[in-house]
Symmetry: D2
Subunit: 323 residues, 4 copies
């Protein structure tokens, strides 16, 4: 099988398509904070859109901001507000909806622990919903939360575990959080994607597994994710592109190697690099030094946005009164 | 509801029964290492035994040794050997049996984290069983492992989660590991109980929940547990007993208070203490200073015993070859 | 050596003294939040006060509130404000003062990890003080922070390590944070004591060690601490007192045992219990179930109060600009 | 300042020198396990050797084996034996020597946590050396151990802290463990270097700081380290070299770009890549997916080797008897 640049970010795919190819795909952009927060909604509308992008029909919203990875609490508040409003637009939450939040990924591997970490900050209420008085009842949804782990730890497909639980508690929605793969180094920890089309667990740092979607689980699946690493080949590929861009302005432009590299498709170039890097570095990934703090920041942003959209106007200490 | 001394240890209950009351219950004791490792098998044989003990019919094996909590690696090897042989006697494992190991308890609370910690050391193989060659096939069982968390974290009953997964992967056995409650301070971290009757999660440090047993899960449930804490009232009760024993040899024996306390039943005394301790200390538990290291030792003993009984003659590095 | 009730809380000692014995000791009480936050300043003024209390001359301020251990963020803000103002009254911080914050205790034992956890949240600035611009310079003190560990981990006396560092960086003040011992179960995690007299590391859960004070370090030592555990004997002792109080209203009052127990001094009673509990339970301590969350709350309160008193008007993100 | 390939591995430097340049440097190689464990001793003998290598005079022993990062316990035993014998050759330990083991690096950043993790497994004895009976006395050295943290956490230079402690406890040797920088991606977690020349803390993932050596501390410093990451530029550089090697056999060999790249010095190429990668990726590092497990394996190897060389024939449970 050929190794190609792996990306879960619909926007990245759309950006690589020509106007002609983008038939069947709508792309709408909004800006906040002097272009420091960019929201792009990619709408894959039909069969043609699916074919061109290789992604299922649906809405993919990307929030891009380098503030996410910085220690910028005020900007995080802004991003939380935007993210929670976008979650709300993708869901049709009723007063008595039951929502299961699932944190995908391996809690032992820092950049893959985003999902499980979010779960530890999600406000769960399903076990106390009978005890919540009518006056705040309107603002509290029945929420359960869960981290299934990864196959190497449990011996089970993540999808099997989630199917088992979904069949038991019959939620109206599943929200799945995962670390994603991106095709650009600059995306690491600066992009949140949210979509209404489901997710394939482990696409960020592992292998693709059973899809989590309405098709496999029987209920709509909202997927939220952040690219937290890129693989070593993506980094080299990005750098090579930058080298080529640099060289473009020099006399070497006409040389055979330049021609060779410049004329290779992205996927061919990635395949070349991937093959060169294997086996010694095939298992390497690229991550920022302060990955521990950054994952904590992203965890706060995503967990707070989920809590606000599912329980508007309710804080943890409000809930504590009924436990 | 009256508060009574809570214990999950069948042996403790049996020890408090008279010979007459022990009809319907067999108790067999074995000794190792100069009485430093004591194995007792309590067999609750019929309805009468169930009524007298308040525990379901079945076999309860207790391994008692203060070595467990000490840094005594050679003695641990001995205990692992004994424990794994006892696991084997309670199960009827076939070549192609599928076993689901479940680690009950809250990973955020050190003395309740025994179950989840054992899971992280259990050798899981279910996801690779297709890849294991015939020559070692005989010695490798298909094992999955899983920690469901507690209701306050997930919003779901532990039993619901496990039912969901059991229905999906259809194991032949469930092995459930949990922290237990004991009625004697001296039992903390010195007793492993293993039984073929199932378990009520959270009985060690939380409230009783849905039973995990053949009745609720449809497959036999082997329960393994260690009392890792006692509640504050149990400690006071134990001490009061010791004070009374001391006083028994003194002139105060004839006083009214002595008579009062000496004539109270254990449960009445516990109830008195419990009511006096509440609310200020009702939520307190008693644990040794070095609880972190002790839980790690117990984790090693239990996980190794499970691995040896399920995969006889196979080490982790043998398995790694097929991953 | 006789075992007596160990307490580091000057207020507890003062409360057990008669008016006559309290010559040489001033006690002033303030109340906030309808008596839910009580601040008591114990001033040990002279030799006589030292003898009666067994504590060195100086000021001991106790903040008592059960809010500390609850998830009550608004009340925590209140406590932080009070605590930081009290820190300020005990110190004479100059614009160019250098402060070394020291977190005592064992990071591997949850209730003893308070000191090290606070250190991880203290805003350190000593390494960037040269880079801070004049306009915010006024509000930023030069702060270093450090957790020396415990003797069983390092093989060194905590005091030796701190002496070595103090001689090297020559701070104007040392602030030492530690878990303390208390003589009442109800004090666990509900009292912060701050004093200008130094501290003996490890008095909370270990043995007494070399004193940290102006005498041993050459610079004033502000000590801050919270009782996070009591030993098993203290719990039993407290309960026995409550039992006696209950019995006082009954006919048993005249019995010999009642007379015996009621007429024992506190220390004799503790000694009796301690001897009865040893060796089986001598190493046990009593702690609330949710100790992990409570230690996190106390960490936030203390670290924020320190940051506010040392860097008034400055937040972490202000500081980040100069790193 | 020009950015050049940073390496702490003397062997890497020696391998890049010509025979002529290697005057003043001895290189001796030993092989074990069919070339799967390679030990190379680089001896920088004089001023000339120092100038050519840029490293201080002394002995640098490198143990190279990809077994280190694998789950190969039997091979680890072999490596521990070799490493402990090499530690012994670099030190002149007397019966009554005092040794201070220092774990450099940031415990919050997984690949930089090697030093602090080793410290947690070193057998410390200095606090009990008075209590050790004569019969095992011969085999037990007085060992203290300590992790100073990093400047961003403490506000202090690591060197200042260690100087302070060394002046206090006056050890005969300091052993410093750190994560190192390497110039080849393939070296990540496959090489242990040990030398008698000291170390600059933080050279692996941070900036160079005050040297720890006989010159700055007054006692000999044995440095042990493992390259646990490479920076992103090193990865790209390595890959580009591999691409060039691939292209060398093709027609493009004659092109201008090939000529350009092939004729650049390694340092110039690294500088080019580094500049292209900055600022977006300047802060990125490259690490294997399973870095958490690998650091644990390296920790075990190094801590065990230290324990065996300092306390020959003594186990932790032997020592526990005297605590």
């Amino acid at each position: 099988m050929k190794n190609t640049i792996r990306t879960d970010i619909a926007l990245e795919i759309a950006q690589n398509l020509s106007k002609e190819e983008l038939k069947g795909v709508d792309v709408i952009e909004e800006n906040y904070e002097d272009n420091n927060i960019i929201i792009t909604t990619v709408n894959i509308k039909d069969k043609q859109g699916e074919e061109k992008t290789g992604k299922p029909k649906g809405t993919y919203i990307t929030i891009e901001s380098s503030y996410m990875k910085e220690n910028e609490i005020a900007k995080h508040e802004e991003i939380i507000k935007i993210l929670s409003s976008k979650i709300t637009t993708l869901m049709d939450i009723k007063k008595d909806s039951v929502i299961l939040v699932v944190g995908l990924g391996n809690w032992n591997v820092t950049p893959d622990a985003l999902g499980p970490k979010v779960i530890s900050k999600v406000l769960v209420t399903r076990h106390i919903s009978a005890d919540i008085p009518e006056d705040i009842d309107e603002s509290v949804r029945s929420v359960a939360a869960f981290s299934p782990g990864v196959m190497g730890i449990t011996g089970m497909e993540t999808g099997e575990i989630i199917q088992g639980i979904v069949e038991k508690i019959k939620p109206d929605y599943v929200i799945a959080i995962d670390a994603l793969a991106a095709g650009k180094t600059s995306r690491i920890n600066t992009t949140i994607q949210i979509s209404d089309t489901g997710v394939c667990p482990g696409s960020g740092v592992g292998n693709n597994r059973m899809e989590l979607s309405k098709k496999t689980l029987g209920v709509p699946v909202i997927a939220m994710g952040v690219p937290t690493v890129v693989d070593a080949a993506t980094l080299v590929n990005d750098t090579l592109d930058l080298i080529l861009e640099t060289l473009i302005n020099t006399a070497t432009k006409s040389t055979a190697l330049y021609q060779l590299l410049a004329n290779m498709t992205d996927d061919d170039k990635y395949e070349l690099i991937y093959r060169i890097l294997t086996p010694d570095s095939g298992n390497l990934f690229v991550t920022p030094k302060e990955v521990d703090s950054i994952i904590d920041r992203l965890t706060n942003i995503i967990a707070n946005a989920i809590n606000i959209s599912l329980h508007p106007g309710i804080s943890k200490s409000d809930i504590n009164k009924y436990i």
